[in-house]
């Protein structure tokens, strides 16, 4: 289980990245990747999984598509378990939440390599860093 990895060549990454940026797939809450909080980290894991899941339908090259779908199949059980636990944590009933949290934490610790690997793979995909261009931009504001 621990040896499951999505190994993409540079070309493949470039291709996927292009598709991702074209179709505006993005994970906005990327700051939480560095968070050690189990809940936050698992949320990112779920988002990353979904990201790849939706992305694979837009890839025309069979090889890469198979590669991704096989990889997703292998980690499917972790995803399902994580979604199940996160759903419970979203519930309005407070009773028993600490137990679910512990289970989530255990799941994370058990599969930490796979989770980190997935997040690290997805992080640079489709991400375009927008630089400040004094040619057209004259200022910045805060988002609120």
């Amino acid at each position: 289980m621990e040896n499951i990895r999505l190994q993409l060549t540079e070309e493949e990454i470039r291709l996927i990245s292009k598709i991702a940026s074209d179709r505006k797939f993005a994970i906005k809450n990327v700051d939480a990747i560095y968070s050690q909080d189990a809940v936050e980290k698992m949320k990112i894991f779920v988002k990353s999984y979904r990201f790849l899941f939706h992305l694979q339908n837009n890839i025309k090259e069979n090889e890469i598509r198979d590669k991704i779908s096989n990889y997703l199949k292998n980690i499917n059980n972790i995803y399902v378990e994580a979604v199940r636990l996160l759903e419970k944590l979203d519930s309005i009933i407070e009773y028993g939440k600490h137990r679910q949290k512990r289970k989530l934490f255990d799941l994370m610790l058990k599969n930490i390599k796979i989770i980190d690997d997935l997040i690290d793979t997805v992080f640079p995909l489709g991400r375009v860093v927008k630089l400040f261009d004094p040619e057209i931009e004259t200022s910045y504001t805060h988002s609120s």
Partner: protein, 458 residues
């Protein structure tokens, strides 16, 4: 949290549909922010004409690229690496009207980027409203005089023709009028008035079409009483050209310290009539902004320009404003409409120099956290005036002899032609005088013959 992610880079809103006003106390960087915003529009293909640089004449500073390393570094620290470098060298056209007595021997020029254009004005393009900007309201005699001058001189005549015309018997009596003493005489003496074919004429149409270059009117070499006239003439023609669809509809005219002519309160009685005419002129243009000429102005107190800005502002930049009266003046209506909050109004009183509230059309006030410094150098007290800074940075000049010589020769040529014409006329008259008795004699003889002939009865 990483702070970068929360920041939103701000672009100027396009298309522009109204005028821009920037307000704030002395030293609140309102002129700089106006420049930054104007440069944002320049990047979107708007033509900039810097018409009034305040009494300090800050306009020509467009020639230099920004040397404010500290300000750019501060911005870079906040927004991350730049895609393009901040300071930029713009293409600049320095417009200087031909006042030959005031022109120095050398004028700053650094080709191919910085061009100096000494220009003359064709007589036919001057309207009576333009003359009002020099001498105030025109009497009916003055109107008659100017109209008949334009009619008589036609398209080929220049100042020399006017001078000649004024010495004729018909117009001699008009030499006492203010229009002659204050307007025609000084302009003819300074060789500003030319004919339609003169190569030195300012082609405003071409000037506006050249969007890449920033046109700057230099006030230093214009006598003070003619400043409104030159500005008004350029403004009127720019608007007319845009209205007649001869040029694009993306022109912005910049005015610093608009209170110099927009003041409603504490106005001085000196030049009051002329200022009033210019104020009307500008507010008319502000009303027709969408025709293709937009005005960007900055002023210290909104009370000074009360009445002009209400409802006509597309961009309203509010800078630090400690005076409560001023704040109320500019924000009260916005607050009632729910476009600015009380806390924001309070914040304006002690706002840092790099921030600005921007109210755009139909939107709530937005706080710009750090407006980028202008990409060109702006006036600072330690830089000195334009001339000394030019000497320090470029120290390249062009001789003005050539231009003055061209117009002087044209004047002399016209004078020569007029003299020749006069001589020829005089000879004709003399010849007629000589011929007259002979003609009379012939006619008398003919009449005698007719009488002597016997009448034939049928």
């Amino acid at each position: 949290m990483v702070e970068n992610i929360e920041k939103h880079f701000w672009e100027v809103p396009v298309p522009l549909t109204g005028n821009g006003f920037f307000m704030g106390r002395i030293g609140s960087a309102k002129s700089c922010k106006m420049l930054s915003v104007a440069q944002g529009y320049h990047a979107h293909g708007y033509k900039l004409i810097d018409l009034f640089g305040g009494l300090r004449d800050e306009g020509p500073f467009w020639c230099f690229k920004s040397e404010e390393k500290r300000l750019w570094d501060e911005l870079e620290a906040e927004v991350g690496t730049f895609k393009n470098p901040g300071p930029k060298e713009y293409e600049v056209n320095l417009l200087i009207p031909m006042f030959s007595s005031k022109l120095p021997k050398q004028l700053p020029e650094n080709l191919p980027r910085i061009k100096t254009k000494i220009f003359t004005i064709p007589i036919s393009s001057i309207d009576i409203t333009d003359i009002g900007l020099v001498i105030g309201d025109l009497s009916s005699n003055s109107r008659y005089l100017w109209n008949s001058i334009v009619k008589k001189v036609e398209k080929e005549g220049n100042g020399a023709d006017i001078e000649h015309l004024m010495k004729t018997k018909k117009f001699e009596g008009y030499q006492n009028l203010a229009i002659y003493k204050l307007f025609i005489k000084p302009l003819v003496d300074n060789h500003l008035l030319s004919n339609d074919l003169c190569s030195l004429n300012l082609d405003i149409q071409e000037e506006i079409k050249n969007k890449n270059a920033v046109s700057i009117l230099m006030h230093k070499y214009i006598p003070e009483q003619f400043r409104f006239f030159i500005m008004g003439w350029i403004l009127r023609h720019s608007l007319n050209l845009a209205m007649e669809d001869k040029v694009h509809k993306k022109t912005i005219a910049l005015f610093r310290e608009a209170s110099a002519f927009m003041k409603v309160q504490d106005k001085s009685s000196e030049n009051e009539e002329q200022t009033q005419i210019f104020r009307n002129h500008v507010s008319n243009i502000a009303r027709y902004a969408r025709s293709g000429l937009f005005l960007f102005m900055d002023t210290q107190s909104p009370a000074e320009v009360k009445g002009l800005i209400e409802g006509q502002d597309d961009l309203l930049g509010i800078n630090e404003m400690p005076s409560m009266k001023d704040r109320e003046e500019v924000c009260e209506q916005l607050r009632k409409d729910g476009r600015i909050s009380k806390a924001q109004i309070r914040y304006i009183a002690t706002m840092p120099i790099h921030e600005m509230f921007l109210v755009t059309r139909g939107k709530k006030a937005k706080l710009l956290r750090r407006v980028a410094p202008p990409r060109t150098q702006f006036w600072k007290s330690n830089l000195g005036n334009f001339e000394s800074y030019w000497k320090k940075i470029f120290n390249q000049y062009k001789n003005t002899n050539q231009e003055i010589e061209i117009i002087r020769k044209e004047y002399l040529h016209h004078k020569y032609l007029l003299n020749e014409k006069e001589k020829a006329e005089a000879i004709e008259i003399k010849a007629e005088e000589k011929l007259e008795p002979a003609i009379i004699k012939v006619e008398e003889e003919h009449a005698q013959k007719m009488l002597e002939e016997p009448v034939q009865l049928i």
